[in-house]
Symmetry: C2
Subunit: 80 residues, 2 copies
């Protein structure tokens, strides 16, 4: 079972990487781009076959290692 953890900087935390991407897109001629936020995604292959337990495990991993709770928030999605 696969769990996907997406880690983003919290709203309000300055995101220089996102800003740089936004500027680069604008200078490439993509004018329709407003705010850009950059984050990480981590795909985990889990031996767990129960979706609820897989999600709980992935959330624990995100809390303990994958995200910095001071400045980052995360969301978990699970798929077969």
């Amino acid at each position: 079972m696969k769990a996907i953890v997406t880690v983003m900087l919290k709203v309000g935390v300055l995101d220089p990487q996102g800003k740089a991407i936004g500027h680069a897109l604008n200078s490439l001629g993509f004018d329709a781009v407003g705010e850009v936020r950059a984050g990480k995604v981590i795909e985990l292959e889990l031996t767990e076959s129960d979706p609820d337990r897989a999600r709980a495990a992935a959330e624990q991993m995100a809390t303990k290692l994958l995200a910095n709770p001071v400045i980052e928030s995360f969301r978990v999605s699970v798929d077969g």
Copy 2:
């Protein structure tokens, strides 16, 4: 309208960051973790209000700037 571009290393391309995360999780006691792949996610705020056109624009941005097509693949999702 928001477009989310997820960029992952292609299958077969070595992913040392993912490997390091996997080892760290294992040593924290998460034994149910198999392969781990790490990637980037970019959330774009677009002024475009048509979902199809927003998706097309985001795909163009990914091809031109956000992903390296030699070693990375990307997927785009669009939401209101």
